[in-house]
Symmetry: C2
């Protein structure tokens, strides 16, 4: 898609037309936030802003788009003219990527004429929701991995190519070492990793022939997969080959009783003085398994983390909304049961105690009384970039700093609430 | 992305290079299937083939892609030359879109020289997985909706733009009436629907002014949202406006006690002779809620179904794999615990009893002994289309035919297994 104007819901356009017809074109502020964190999340990692800024630039309507809209028979000529000229010229306030955030905190706020700000609802939610969801899931593996390597193996079961590519970026921000996803590697400069699949082992008549052939092709970094037939006989074959000088640097386990197998594989390798041969585990890996294996002393060097993180399987969506909070300078509040909103453009101010996060206050933006560290920044004004976007490495570093300041109990997989005060 | 060659995992390329180096270039067959259905699914709906065929045509490597790969320092010049020339020239066998399928049934089979077939693993799984996942979730709402309207409201919380667009298509195949997603509406000709958001109601000083303004803008199909402040006072305002001749055709409930509210809203409307004003319900809707509301007699005319279906929230992934089953005409079997595969290219043969599906047999392809209805067709040969792709309407009709032949107990939300015999 060259233009993204149709990446929206029909009602955004019907509302916009009606706003224009009724003179409702004053400045509005919409706020994107998560109402409540999922049961299995103690915090979120803000992610997706760079993509959103790119998408907003491309949020325009081509002639073909306009022809389609005209064919629906609902829109006036003057509204179609408005869309033809549309480009986002408003302000975008946001929490930068890679910050730890919580419930009710405005991740993105759009300030623009009401119809313009309304049109963007769907694409703002879609973009920030996906990437924040995946980063917030991925960081949980990072927090329990005790420094072991983590590689994104999720591309195949991501919800589309999009989700795989952005998910790789989100996981790198969240502390993964790299990804198997080449498009993400190219686009974002993320390190890429890979081993071999069962198919490779199976096309050779003997398992050891496959191991040897792969090491011949990649003598610097051959990791072989040892669970195709029988894991323990396979590791014995690896040992024999390494003794013969075949340069195998690692073995991957993808099924079976990982606790038992990883310990026995390590024992056999060590017994032969092959303590430099690494053990990589994949197959249904998530933070719960990583924590369980490592707490049982499994000698695993790195993990391939796939399906469960890339789909955020234990919490596959966030209760994220984009709500009108201010119009013509006046507060706007929705009172629907369980869906209450808070008025005004806001900042998130963070208060620390002994170097650790103590609580956040969600307060009116730019109030001189505000204390603490302000998280919300103005990124776009008149549609143009006002704040330099950080590099991927800087975003990742920022998250690591935030993690250092996160109270220990929030780093655990057990539920713990953080105090967010709305003023 | 103009070329999709990098939409793959690194290991597909390392394996391919090694295959080429070791003369492993004979014909291979890979099979895409779901090992086990999720706990909450009695069947799946095949979906995604049209996108896959398009993606395979675009699965090539641009000069920029090749430069990136070269920069990784792992690939040989001759392998990069192979990629430069790569285009898919093999065979693709598949179950057409819109068919009901089960565990262990090959949805897609790729027959091509081993390195070529290997390269496609990630994109084949990614594409068919997403769309089959969403179609299989969406059809559950259709099966319990008793003919009530269903509209896809999922775009905003889909995992990316991709997932929202393909998800809209999948839900239309699965019996939804339409979508709020304009890009999907344009691209696939799916009917589009929409109402208004809370923001619209909130920018007017009085709720009734908002209702009136919207009906003025869209006098043919104004559906207004009535839960922004107080649902029952809002419906009284709607009644007053309709009496005054304001053309409101429906009201939408998005929160609160839907059973109580829908019944009371209906009662108040009917009492005033407004039985033609429809009630639409949205907000956390899924098949479980639809079934529960309708079985309690809630007078709901249609549902906006969003987040939970577009993320397939109760089963956000399928245990789908792409496995080597044949190489050089010889069977290939993987024996990893819980991940056993079955050899040879296969057909799915369906047997009916009294007009209903009785069982399926997964059998060697083209075996003259095969009985029943064959589901697998040859779609691509030499990389070119051999079987005309059906229109979206035809795919949807085909699924409706399959649903008519599905045993009643498989249509329920309760778990029931269907018999699939592997021969």
């Amino acid at each position: 898609m060259e233009t993204l104007g149709l990446c929206t819901d029909l009602y955004e356009l019907t509302m916009a037309q009606s706003y224009l017809e009724h003179g409702k074109t004053s400045t509005a502020v919409f706020s994107l936030f998560v109402r409540e964190l999922p049961e299995n999340r103690n915090f979120l990692v803000s992610c997706g802003l760079e993509a959103l800024i790119d998408y907003l630039e491309r949020f325009k309507f081509s002639d073909e788009d306009l022809l389609y809209l005209k064919s629906l028979g609902r829109f006036s000529e003057s509204f179609l003219d408005y869309l033809k000229e549309f480009e986002f010229k408003g302000k975008l306030y946001a929490v930068p990527e890679g910050r730890i955030v919580f419930q009710n905190e405005p991740l993105v706020q759009i300030e623009a004429p009401l119809p313009d700000a309304q049109l963007l609802e769907t694409i703002v939610i879609n973009t920030i929701h996906l990437q924040t969801l995946i980063a917030s899931k991925a960081v949980r593996s990072f927090l329990v991995a005790r420094g072991k390597g983590l590689v994104d193996f999720g591309f195949r079961r991501a919800h589309g190519l999009d989700a795989g590519i952005w998910g790789a970026r989100a996981s790198y921000i969240a502390g993964f070492s790299g990804t198997s996803n080449l498009e993400a590697g190219k686009r974002f400069g993320i390190p890429v990793f890979g081993t071999v699949a069962h198919s490779y082992i199976m096309v050779f008549d003997r398992e050891e022939d496959a191991f040897k052939a792969f090491a011949e092709s990649f003598p610097k970094n051959a990791v072989v997969l040892i669970d195709t037939y029988d894991t323990l006989s396979a590791v014995d074959k690896v040992i024999k080959l390494v003794k013969e000088g075949v340069p195998i640097v690692g073995v991957r386990l993808d099924s079976g009783d990982i606790e038992k197998l990883s310990k026995e594989v390590r024992r056999r390798l060590d017994q032969e003085g092959m303590s430099n041969v690494r053990i990589i585990v994949s197959g249904g890996v998530d933070e719960y398994k990583i924590e369980s294996w490592l707490s049982k002393g499994c000698p695993i060097d790195s993990f391939g983390v796939g399906t469960k993180f890339i789909t955020s399987a234990d919490a596959p969506y966030l209760d994220m909304a984009y709500k009108l909070v201010e119009y013509e300078g006046k507060p706007k509040v929705k009172k629907s049961p369980g869906k209450r909103t808070f008025p005004y453009k806001r900042d998130v101010r963070r208060f620390y105690k002994n170097g650790l996060m103590d609580h956040d206050e969600v307060v009116p933006y730019n109030d001189p009384e505000n204390g603490g560290e302000g998280l919300v920044k103005l990124f776009l004004k008149g549609g143009s970039l006002k704040e330099k976007l950080p590099s991927l490495g800087e975003i990742r570093d920022k998250l690591m700093e935030d993690i250092d300041k996160l109270p220990e109990e929030l780093k655990l997989l057990k539920k713990k609430d953080y105090r967010v005060i709305i003023k």
